[in-house]
């Protein structure tokens, strides 16, 4: 458990490191990126399959680098970082939606992998908020790796209905995630 005062101090430090980085201080920037890496890893371990975590972290580090001029040094650093991390997470979810079918990595659901289990249970909870027909085809196609046609046969839904239900389901998931974040 992170002490709130320590977290606030850390955030102020990150903010001043980013301000120095904007002025061209490479050492402060290197320290900042190195300190952000574990935070980002933890963030994505709770939201993505473990195998996708490092890619997501690198993606955010690159985004931070390219968009560092958008950080306003008069404001806290934490919300800026969290907004970029969340944007990249949603972007990743959307990219996965565009891919027709993608079998998930075998590491997902390994009983001895705590972070993966947390991510999976979060995902299961989100799935439960969908209509049963949407949740069923998302589980079949996106988690278990069935093709659209196989999911259609297994669920008794037509091929086009499977596509529509996946599309609507993922939109609902994205919006649920967005709302949950806003509520936080």
């Amino acid at each position: 458990m992170v002490n709130p005062r320590a977290a606030a101090t850390l955030e102020v430090d990150w903010g001043s490191m980013m301000a120095s980085a904007q002025d061209g201080n490479a050492d402060a920037y290197r320290r900042l990126l190195a300190e952000l890496t574990p935070w980002l890893r933890q963030y994505y371990l709770r939201r993505l399959p473990a195998a996708a975590t490092d890619d997501a972290v690198q993606d955010v580090l690159l985004a931070i680098h390219e968009k560092r001029h958008t950080y306003d040094r008069s404001r806290p650093f934490g919300p800026w970082l969290a907004a970029i991390a969340r944007y990249k997470w949603i972007d990743r979810l959307r990219s996965r939606k565009r891919e027709a079918s993608e079998p998930l990595n075998e590491n997902l659901g390994m009983p001895d992998h705590e972070d993966t289990v947390v991510a999976q249970s979060t995902f299961r909870r989100l799935l439960a908020s969908l209509k049963p027909a949407q949740a069923e085809v998302i589980r079949l196609v996106k988690i278990e790796g069935y093709s659209i046609e196989e999911a259609s046969k297994s669920s008794g839904q037509s091929v086009s209905l499977v596509k529509v239900n996946i599309h609507r389901g993922i939109n609902r998931l994205t919006s649920a995630i967005r709302k949950a974040h806003d509520a936080d």
Binding site: Q22, D23, L62, E66, R68, W80, I84, Y87
Partner: protein, 213 residues
């Protein structure tokens, strides 16, 4: 690439950058607006009966309406380029303004013209020309907004693209007001809505695609 080497590479070629400034971006857009308006008038497009037109309430209605939407849209777009700011509340205000504008136009129309000769008043031939001129005048602001959005980091790209599309459309319409020969609220409501609708839809689609980061 390993994360550690990425961190090394990013910090190795670090250069000082100028933090983003909302005021600077607003000033750039304002100057671009003035330049476009001045160039448009200098090319001789101003309507010849301007002093007479300025006496009609509908002239001020269309000028104020398009100007208000352009300013609001530009404000919402610029603010929402920041990753921590959402354009949604601003868009709701813009939609409320559009509703008030249409309702006030209807009141001006009903008070002055009655409801006869609707088709004649629409004046298709001029209307289509107006639409294309508005679309052409919206291109410079649309390019400016696209550049700003690509430089920024909007996290609600659809909302930001919509606000910028609306602002570009209203901006083009605002400049066109100085050349538009019609002060008929029905004509303005229909053809300005068509022109602004086309620009908004096209700009939103293009900016949404180009703003990915």
């Amino acid at each position: 690439m390993r994360i550690e080497s990425l961190v090394e590479r990013l910090s190795a070629d670090l250069r000082p950058i100028r933090p983003r400034s909302i005021l600077r971006e607003a000033a750039v857009l304002f100057i671009l607006g003035l330049v476009e308006l001045a160039a448009f008038l200098a090319m001789g497009f101003m309507r010849p009966d301007m002093p007479v037109a300025m006496a009609a309430p509908s002239f001020w209605w269309k000028l104020a309406s398009t100007g208000l939407i352009a300013v609001l849209g530009a404000g919402v777009a610029i603010i929402s380029i920041d990753p921590v700011r959402s354009p949604r509340a601003g868009l709701r205000w813009m939609l409320a303004c559009v509703a008030v504008i249409i309702a006030s136009g209807w009141l001006i129309d009903a008070a002055h013209y009655g409801l006869s000769d609707l088709i004649t008043r629409l004046d298709w031939a001029h209307g289509v020309q107006c639409v294309w001129k508005m679309v052409a005048l919206s291109i410079p602001p649309a390019i400016a907004f696209t550049t700003l959005i690509r430089l920024g980091a909007p996290t609600d790209r659809a909302g930001t693209a919509l606000a910028a599309g609306l602002a570009s459309a209203a901006w083009g319409a605002f400049v066109f007001v100085f050349a538009c020969p019609s002060d008929d609220p029905l004509y303005i409501a229909v053809w300005y809505t068509v022109g602004c609708g086309i620009v908004t839809a096209m700009s939103r689609a293009a900016m949404l695609k180009l703003s990915r980061w």
